[in-house]
Symmetry: C2
Subunit: 412 residues, 2 copies
């Protein structure tokens, strides 16, 4: 018989859950005294003591005498995440590649981005570039660093279930098993997770950005294509195969333009980068520089550009209204291109929302630009890689330190 998904628990599950709760609290909330942990977890001092001891032994945390704060009583030592444990974040955009090493607690130990021109790319080159960037970055970190996993953000349609990039139009990829390719190209064996920019962007916002701590969040990611990442009831929305969030292809205009997805009148044809350039009368495909130029014109008060922004904002609101009525989020975070356009489109967008979103929902929903900038999805990728460790801190085999990789490679 198929083992039930709601299978039985045992005592070890309790230990795992508590270990996970303590480590997650430290990862998300930063250093805390033991008595803080007692209060926030509801466990007893003895239990917290044992759990912190185990985490210390595994190297995830260390304790320090707390500075005296003037209150009476024995001071509680501060438990803080070490910087020795990291996950690697990678990002594949149309016109840049990036990697980062992010420690427990969310600190960016190092971060590197290289620009490249917008053109189709062989997959192998990209994989090699990413691995090279990563290796160089890690070589400059202390030799004690232990890598726990890799998160890869891709500007494209990703089937999370088998870690495959199904379509990445502007990079020219179709059905590329990028997750596995990266895993095999790395000198040590690491778990690799992969998703699109939107999926990771929303995670970054919920954990380190403007939506910190919220349970229902939509993040709209727009660079060349338009996508979304959704946190529903605190958990990422995946869908049956991991394709959820392709909001760029919600049909919004029955008389609209053809979309590169094969349909027509998709939201993306009205609010994507191409649509913006079309409205201001510029040729498509110029890349980031052209958008920068348009933003400069808007900042300078160019009336035609501002009118175009207004039209863009109305379409933004038109589509967003449907998304908000569908999800009833606490907040919608606008990332990527939309974060940069925000000051110029906000008014028109907002008045569309006022008209089209249920009043009771409109009153409570916030619509904000991301504050994390271009690196939001990168942070989110690392967060998701961390998530695997946080879920079961003692479960995974303790990985080898990065510096041991040459031995392994030598053996092959």
């Amino acid at each position: 018989m198929r083992r039930n998904e709601t299978a039985g628990s045992r005592s070890e599950s309790v230990r795992q859950a508590n270990l996970s709760a303590i480590l997650r609290s430290l990862h998300l909330g930063g250093a805390a005294t033991r008595s803080d942990l007692v209060a926030s977890s509801g466990l007893t001092r003895s239990a917290v003591g044992a759990l912190v001891g185990e985490l210390t032994e595994m190297g995830f945390v260390h304790e320090e005498r707390s500075a005296s704060d003037g209150s009476p009583g024995r001071p509680s030592p501060i438990v803080m995440p070490t910087s020795d444990h990291v996950t690697i974040a990678m990002e594949v955009l149309v016109d840049s590649l990036a990697v980062a090493a992010i420690s427990l607690g969310g600190h960016v130990l190092d971060h590197r981005r290289v620009d490249r021109t917008r053109q189709a790319r062989p997959v192998d080159d990209t994989v090699r570039n990413l691995v090279d960037l990563t290796s160089k970055m890690l070589d400059e970190l202390p030799t004690t660093v232990v890598v726990h996993g890799v998160g890869v953000a891709v500007a494209g349609v990703v089937r999370r279930s088998d870690k495959t990039v199904v379509v990445a139009p502007n990079i020219g990829w179709n059905d590329v098993p990028l997750g596995d390719l990266i895993r095999l190209a790395l000198p040590i064996d690491l778990p690799v997770v992969i998703a699109n920019d939107g999926d990771f962007g929303v995670l970054a916002e919920v954990r380190r950005g403007v939506a910190t701590g919220m349970h229902d969040v939509v993040y709209i990611s727009g660079e060349v294509g338009v996508g979304a990442g959704v946190i529903a009831d605190g958990r990422p929305l995946g869908g049956a195969a991991g394709f959820a969030g392709e909001v760029g292809h919600i049909p919004v205009n029955p008389g609209g333009l053809a979309c590169r997805c094969g349909s027509s009148g998709c939201w993306e044809t009205e609010v994507g980068e191409e649509a913006l350039l079309r409205r201001v009368g510029r040729a498509a495909g110029g890349g980031r520089a052209v958008v920068d130029d348009v933003l400069a014109s808007a900042a300078a008060g160019d009336a035609d550009v501002l009118a175009a922004m207004d039209a863009h904002g109305r379409w933004l609101g038109f589509g967003l209204a449907g998304i908000i009525n569908t999800f009833d989020p606490d907040v919608v975070v606008l990332g990527g291109l939309f974060a940069r356009l925000f000051p110029y489109v906000a008014a028109a967008m907002s008045s569309e929302l006022d008209r089209r979103v249920f009043d009771v929902v409109r009153q409570q929903v916030g619509v904000l630009p991301s504050g994390l900038g271009l690196d939001g999805p990168l942070l989110g990728a690392a967060e998701w890689a961390w998530e695997q460790v946080l879920a079961d801190p003692a479960g995974a085999e303790p990985p080898l330190p990065w510096c041991a990789r040459t031995l392994i490679v030598g053996e092959v």
Copy 2:
């Protein structure tokens, strides 16, 4: 300090989780032998024995000698849910009220629906009608019946967080705390949950309908208004305040008609009952009979009606494409009006989906009419009421049997 939501577990949590797993398995899968339970839960025979014993003591289940099946070995007794424990489902539609008593295991012990004309209704009358219907129904059930909770489905916009009907346009309600009103009107104190038809409809489909066992499901409910219920990763999509799923008000037509929500071009203005009647040239507001008549014409092959159905189907597909691209569900279940229209709109809807949904998603997603008919949401309401019990079978106070209510009322 605010107590962390990821609070610590203790041994009792394990017991609760296992008790819950066993009872849920029986509720969803029906009677099973003890050794089936051992296999599906992964627990040991002794643990299952203790758990089943506790459930028996609480009256949720009883064991019977199994009929010999010819295989050697000591026969395992069959554990079956008793019929003594029920939840009450209620449904408030524009033109009918319904109540049902549903036992552990999902059997409908009794079920009553009364039609009424489409018109604005005082809330108090409706509440009294529901409670009367319920009392009469329960009086005819065995006196041993114990009621665990009430689920109320409403055709309207419901704020689940405070159990309030914010808008029910055709019934004429605004900001009605229906959940509390029903709770206070009942002769015994019971937990009441409330949501709209779509939210409960999808639950019924996932537990007892065409989407049984699936993890990502969208249910489109359309009677007068259009709404949706969504199961994402096995859990109901609620949103920040419980307003999620108002897909009837996704803007899909920039040049569209005014909607009663104050916006224009909402999906509902193109696929709601009014839109259908408009397309076949009939007056709105005639109620179910008119729709029946239209369906009869379609069945008879009336070319004008079939052409209207075709147009309706295209708009159905147009909006559904966006919903599918957003959620990537395993299956979309069409309920209410849409289930009845299905044979006549399927072709046009399908060709729109072929064009507008990502190929990889289109290939795996099913679009099916509900098989549960008008009573789907009613079943779902009972399921959700059961859910409170399933989550912690030993936790809730054992409620008084229904027959004890007169004593209580007498004391007041």
